[in-house]
Symmetry: C2
Subunit: 408 residues, 2 copies
């Protein structure tokens, strides 16, 4: 038997069915007309953001990292929830534009921006987080070609990392940003070339569950930004401090302590170096804002026995839920939080394997999991599906097509 | 330094550039108008199939597993090259129909076929590889609803595996097929219900590089099919023996020995049990037919230094080449065969990291690889990109969009 990951708190049953945003799972599927279906709850996102704001110092701006979930209705909803947006491609630029988001609150990071992407971003007026000296030159020549003054920040590759993060974005040689010791020179060249100077972007890692590690990384980020500002001799209009706030996916994971992080940050803000006194500080969060607000619903198509194992075969799978299948940069597969949505809260009765419909042994949603007894037609819920789900999975694999999405 | 995987034999340079199907890499990119670009060589696919046919006994039919690469022009080309097609979804059914492929030579396997998929397949006249007793009942009731006699084979979950295969599809509890000991009963029920009986599908694994293991698995498959046929007491019109022929991706991998496999199979065919004397035997191959015929071309957008490491940042990445990035069910990341396409055959001069344009540390195409010195604008080639590339990757991730594809 393998444990199932922790179901995010607050999900309840109506008539024995999982409810999302006040609707029963089966009603949501009816509304979407098909399975598999991603459902995202506005209420849960808003509650998360309001808890976050309550815990953080008032001066801290909250940005949304579009890559976590670029579903258009969700972006439109986020427009009224956060203070800024961070994009990673001209595709995401088009999306935020379609969602009616003001380009002045959008910044664009990414190590491989093409000339066409720089042009689109410069013309739109979004802030470019410059990732290298070469990109700096391309930004300037592109802005000259377009006859526009570009908004530019420098992305810093810090010498430290966010300890215990799922993905390290700093500490050592990295393709992201410019090594800290070369940042003042590059920033000076950009300012001298006449860009609208926006400051620094320092990202240290993602999906950290240690509040202590997040507190330490934030302290290091502020210290580094102050030092770089002092060497540069220019004010820093804005500092994107990165994010890294993780969410629990697996058995034994615990939520981060927002209050502790907020208090430590509050104390730091009272003690900022002169160079950062007038700097707008922001946190860039994706997964933390939307991850636990999403549920993936898939229908059981077959229930079968092979030797001593029971398989629940669903119409979903890794083509929508690559990370949950354990195949996206994972070494040891563990179970995400998973439940039988149409028997939510019922006692676990049997050990089953929940698999997807793809003809590959990689397509697993839960291994050796204790579940209530489910039949063909029941819905399976995979939780923590609001971030890095639909777009972070190979939707075209084996020709089953994309999942439906719904914001409720 | 980490070794690079072996470049498939036969690729040559024209004017110092990698040539594919007689065209220089830069000319192909011009024709496609953009990068990244998958190029598939008809010539290489045809040569592979003709070597395969020469090595195998004449009676063996060759089927193409569409999931390996469902690019429509490639499917249309394959129509004239192979004897049958295997699909895994109704999406792939639409594709083979669009490609003008006769449904009578198509079979459909997959553990989670929905009722709509069964209906589409029954109406089209493709053979359904039945994966469970429950699916058997659904096929029959669906055929009654549609007023059509369905063509049905039974997919067998064998008690043995293809040793050393990248993915095991047999040996123990599996979501695929029906445990061998229950197959005769299910087959009899289907025959009694009046289906057009098509035989067995026995798939034991994929991506095996040991010729001995393939020979052993084929012997076991024939033995099992004979035993099941004898228990069933019915002739077996067709036996899909699976595939599993691997291709070399990594340093140290060697190609399988077709001649040995063909000789062993030839000997087996001379010694078939009575029940299989009139059985049509086929091999279902995907990766082996098209994998080495494909090259992924991506352009270097930035060349940068971080600490003591050099990064070549490309406009491609894991959104098109998930497996090459080492994130698709891989435990230890190793380098695929990779080269600087615009300096093909030049001496390696420096150790570099080739990364994609995605803003995630997972997006790597080659780590610590010795390469000729490359600059912004140069093209990088990732080989073995003909199978499980474009559609087995999260194309929507971070909004960069799909790659172009070209059959030459």
């Amino acid at each position: 038997m393998k444990p199932i990951g922790p179901i995010p708190p607050g999900f309840e049953a109506i008539d024995g069915e999982l409810a999302i945003g006040g609707y029963k799972a089966s009603a949501l599927v009816e509304q979407a007309v098909r399975t598999p279906l991603f459902v995202y709850s506005q209420e849960r996102i808003a509650a998360r953001i309001s808890h976050l704001r309550a815990a953080m110092p008032a001066a801290i701006r909250i940005h949304y990292a579009v890559k976590a979930n670029p579903y258009l209705p969700l972006l439109e909803f986020m427009r009224g929830q956060v203070d800024g947006f961070d994009i990673a491609s001209s595709g995401e630029l088009s999306l935020v534009q379609t969602a009616g988001i003001d380009p002045a609150i959008v910044s664009f990071a990414g190590p491989g921006k093409r000339d066409e992407e720089l042009e689109a971003a410069v013309v739109a007026g979004v802030t470019l987080n410059c990732e290298s000296e070469g990109e700096g030159r391309r930004i300037i020549s592109c802005a000259e070609r377009m006859g526009v003054t570009p908004r530019v920040a420098v992305r810093v590759n810090p010498d430290f990392e966010l300890r215990g993060s799922g993905m390290k974005m700093g500490g050592g040689a990295k393709p992201f940003g410019v090594d800290a010791d070369r940042v003042p020179d590059l920033a000076r060249q950009l300012i001298d070339a006449g860009v609208k100077w926006r400051g620094f972007h320092i990202f240290t890692g993602s999906q950290a569950l240690s509040s202590k590690a997040i507190i330490e990384a934030q302290a290091n980020v502020l210290e580094l930004a102050g030092r770089l500002a002092s060497e540069l001799g220019h004010a820093i209009p804005k500092l994107n401090m990165g994010g890294g706030f993780g969410i629990p996916y697996f058995d034994g994971d615990a939520a981060i302590e927002l209050a502790q992080i907020g208090e430590a940050l509050h104390a730091r803000l009272g003690d900022l170096p002169d160079e950062l006194q007038n700097t707008e500080l922001c946190l860039e969060l994706g997964r933390y804002l939307v991850g636990e607000a999403g549920v993936y619903l898939t229908r059981i198509v077959d229930r079968k026995q092979s030797h001593d194992a029971t398989f629940l075969v669903t119409d979903g799978g890794l083509h929508h839920q690559l990370a949950a299948s354990g195949n996206f940069g994972t070494v040891v597969r563990r179970n995400y939080p998973v439940a039988i949505a149409t028997r939510f809260g019922a006692e676990p009765e049997e050990e089953v394997n929940v698999v997807g419909c793809l003809c590959t042994p990689l397509d697993r949603l839960a291994d050796n999991a204790m579940m209530p007894k489910a039949e063909v037609g029941d819905l399976v819920a995979v939780f923590c599906a609001g971030a890095y789900g639909a777009t972070a999975s190979p939707a075209a694999f084996l020709g089953h097509g994309a999942a439906a999405e719904l914001l409720v």
